[in-house]
Amino acid sequence: MSAPVTDKRSGFDIRDLKSLFGGGGSLKQFGILGALVAIIIIFQLWTGGKTLQPGNIINIVQQYSYILILAIGMVMVIIAGHIDLSVGSVAAFTGIIVALAMKDWNFPWWAAIILGLVVGGLIGAWQGFWVAYIGVPAFIVTLAGMLIWRGGNQFIGDSATVPVGAGFQVIGKGYLPELGPNLGVNNLTMLLGIVVVLILIGLEVRGRRTRAVMGATSAPAWTSVARVVVLGGVVLVAAYLFATGRVGTSFPVSGIILAVLVVAYSFLTNRTTIGRHIYAVGGNKHAAELSGVNSKRVNFFVMMNMSVLAALAGMIFVARSQASGPFDGTGWELDAIAAVFIGGAAVSGGIGTVAGSIIGGLVMAVLSNGLALKGISSDLVQIIKGLVLLIAVGVDVFNKSQGRPSIIGLMTRNQGGRGGQKLAEEPTSTQVSPGGGTPDTVVPADLKN
């Protein structure tokens, strides 16, 4: 057992396949990613190729970017052990203020955006204050917020629709501009794709070097090559699709905002002290406090951050629909929460990832979009989405309680967690949460050691 962990494995190993997508860190997404790919393929076939047409994927990004932005904030709130029901109302409240600022007070679009973020920050500080420093459960605080900010939106806006100008609409409706020679594609989009591929290669090389320095087990080199080829290929194909849509369209601005946020928040949650503190507080508040973590500040931060992101999501929505209305953002909180839980977070906190939540959100997005393409009515779409949420989390929980993987379990399974070795020891009664998700950073128990 205490042998050094530098054994170089050779030959095929299922874990190498998994490490294609996890890179040794968060492997949880692998399963959900598999589900996403499966859903895309199913709808691609079922809709006769409409799903992956440029116009449609551009539409999906524009239509769901704000939900995915909410999911980023929501997963952090949920990891910390809270919930935020107010995001839709906060989005609507911010939207009306921003729209009025431009219409009545002649704010330029950029100043309006800053104003919107400040409004989100203030709302978040208000809610964070009640949650962190008074100790009112976030469920209650944000349920109150849901009413307060919805009412605020309708009070300020007189329950009317307020249009926004073209400059502002860019964040919701805009695309990367056409630049350079006309090659029949959107050059910037293709360039973006190539840059992303180069970054992927760079990260892969750096990752392998780091692991070598650590003397840790590295998957065989072919997995690295395969990973870069697969991921790079997906990126390039996606870039090509986005670049070859209707003239005047390309990769949406809202998609770029989303991508930047995903990268930034993945880094924040994985690699920074504040990220560690969020997981620590959600995993065991008392232990975190006894380790010197200021749990109040952490709770304040996640609640405030959520409202800032909700404000941003609200503005993108207003920009896309060209106006702020009294019912903007209705039900968003549920979509965001569903995305997070499909993405493998635990109801009891401590578990979840930004990437997983984004993939969970995309599962819902592709599903809704595909069903809409098939002309399924929205009442049925709701029923199906509800069932998907229930079944996805249910299968996860069931597998864990049974200690054996099934199809989705095999994909979402956290290797080693269900291995026999553990069960043999006096099993701890403190085995993970009811909510779903084994710890997401566990790496396979190497029984060969």
């Binding site: 406090e289 010197g292 291995g419 553990k422 043999a424 128990a445």
Partner: protein, 519 residues
């Protein structure tokens, strides 16, 4: 003393029980024979298979998932779940008590077994029977008291009352005294012995070998999933060393390491430390306590549970307990303020809590992330954590503390208690403490791991770290400490160099005024 038990018939025979989990044989042809009116102890290191065996017996692992036969009262039984084994009179009381804190004693006793008809509970009947049952276990609290308001010792008694209500014939106790202080433990052991006289056999799993020696008639030793031997306590003249030899398969030399440290000057001093109970304003849990720690010295704190040992330590550690009233802390001659945990860590103070699972670790986390969690700044630039350093640091601790795990990427839940404790120790060693406060550092870990923890403590002392060790186990305090304070009802009552300390003297100082049961 224990004369006639051979005359009693066999009540339980587990024959050649084998239980496999994928890839691992947890139990390998284990046999166990328990006679009527017998207290049968099962000893073994953590992970030896004791709990698994009890789960097979009580139906948690149903018939069909194991090989071998269970013969109970002369018949082969096939329990499909706990309900069936309980109906047959086999009741298991787990280490983590299964009581509902918000419910009353009565409600807990009859939970799942409520007297009455068609779902309407007959509370008058329940109340009457509860009083009877409580009398049998020697508990005189009002049966309407909420369980959260009575101490762990009394909660344990409520569990036994609950078992008695089910007409228990064979009581299984998993580490029943792990969380109890000496007097509560003694009361519980007396009760178990009393039950034996009334025809109730017990199977007891415990790490406290002195208790086993004192109470058990027979001892079965399990090692690596195999039953090694069964000893008759009287006939075989069993003592602690004999049990340990069976458990570890070798004779442990000296269980306590040599004191090699050269003790330096006083560097840490607490004066007149007074702390108020967090809820009750008039109640002082720590009263005018003053003490000193020298460099390289292991200072023991002896006291019964509830005496204020943990409260003293936690209130020092960034006011993590109660309400600060008065007192001063000096380090290297200068007064320091320890208002938050972060401040305490900054001043080089570390506190390893007595409750590893609820206060010491985030059980969802990996080993490496746990180890660096109390001083992330040490491996961070600004707010960015250097994961390479994190891996290197934790790998060093894995080697130097011999944490048994294939990699530091494992979740901490997967470790045994002893190895979890090593992770907690590593976590606090990583903060480079000048003063390390250890609260019950060997609770719930097996004999081998204990010896390793003692060695780690002495090694740290040898490097000049001042150590405060709080422990309920007097032999451990006497074996590891250089100097011992005793604490009783929030006051420091005595201070003795270890050479002048013996269990009797300590116990007297720990109970200096009339001893009351602590609620």
């Amino acid at each position: 003393m224990e004369t006639a038990h051979n005359a009693h018939p066999t009540i339980l025979e587990m024959r050649s029980i084998t239980k496999e989990f994928p890839g691992v044989k947890a139990l390998d042809k284990v046999s166990l024979t328990v006679r009527a009116e017998e207290i049968h102890a099962i000893c073994g290191e953590n992970g030896a298979g004791k709990s698994t065996l009890m789960k097979v017996l009580s139906g948690v692992y149903p018939f069909g998932t194991y090989d071998g036969d269970i013969v109970y009262e002369g018949q082969v039984v096939r329990f499909r779940d706990i309900k069936q084994s309980e109906a047959a009179g086999i009741v298991i009381i787990h280490q983590e008590l299964a009581l509902i804190p918000e419910l009353s004693i009565t409600e807990n006793i009859f939970l799942g077994n409520e007297p009455g008809r068609r779902g309407i509970i007959n509370w008058v009947d329940a109340q009457r029977r509860a009083v009877e049952l409580l009398a049998r276990v020697g508990l005189d609290d009002d049966p309407d008291t909420q369980v959260k308001n009575i101490g762990v010792g009394k909660q344990q008694l409520v569990e036994i009352a609950k078992a008695l209500n089910k007409n228990v014939k064979l009581l299984i106790l998993d580490e029943p005294t792990a969380a109890l202080n000496e007097s509560d433990s003694q009361h519980l052991l007396d009760l178990i012995r009393g039950l034996k006289g009334k025809g109730i056999s017990s199977i007891m799993i415990s790490h406290k070998l002195n208790e086993i020696e004192q109470i058990a008639d027979q001892i079965t030793i399990i090692r690596d999933g195999k039953s090694i031997e069964t000893l008759d306590v009287v006939a075989d003249g069993v003592d602690e060393d004999r049990i340990i030899r069976g458990m570890v398969g070798r004779t442990l030399g000296n269980r306590f390491p040599e004191h090699t440290a050269t003790i330096g000057e006083v560097f840490f001093e607490v004066r007149d430390w007074t702390v108020q109970h967090p809820l009750t304003a008039e109640r002082l849990v720590v009263k005018n306590s003053s003490f000193t720690v020298r460099r390289g010295e292991v200072v023991g704190f002896a006291g019964l549970m509830g005496a204020g040992r943990t409260e003293l330590a936690m209130s020092l550690f960034g006011r993590s307990y109660g309400k600060f009233i008065s007192g001063q802390v000096f380090k290297d001659g200068e007064e320091i303020k320890l208002r938050t945990v972060a401040e305490a860590i900054g001043h080089g103070i570390a506190y390893v809590s007595e409750d590893r699972k609820s206060l010491g670790l985030n059980l969802l986390d990996t080993i490496k992330r746990s180890i660096v969690s109390a001083k992330l700044s040490k491996i961070s630039r600004g707010v960015v954590v250097n994961e390479l350093e994190e891996a290197q640091v934790s790998e060093q601790y894995r080697k130097s503390l011999r944490i048994k795990t294939p990699t530091v990427e494992e979740g901490v839940t997967k470790l045994s208690g002893g190895n979890q404790q090593k992770v907690v120790l590593a976590k606090w060693m990583f903060t480079d403490p000048d003063l390390l406060i250890l609260d019950e550092p060997t609770r719930g870990i097996d004999v081998g791991a204990k010896a390793e923890v003692y060695q780690i403590i002495r090694d740290l002392a040898a490097r000049g770290t001042g150590i405060i060790m709080i422990s309920s186990e007097l032999p451990e305090l006497l074996g590891v400490s250089d100097r011992i304070y005793t604490i009783f009802e929030g006051k420091i009552t005595n201070e003795l160099p270890v050479a002048q300390a013996d269990p009797e003297t300590l116990m007297r100082s720990m109970t200096s005024s009339s001893q009351k049961a602590v609620a």
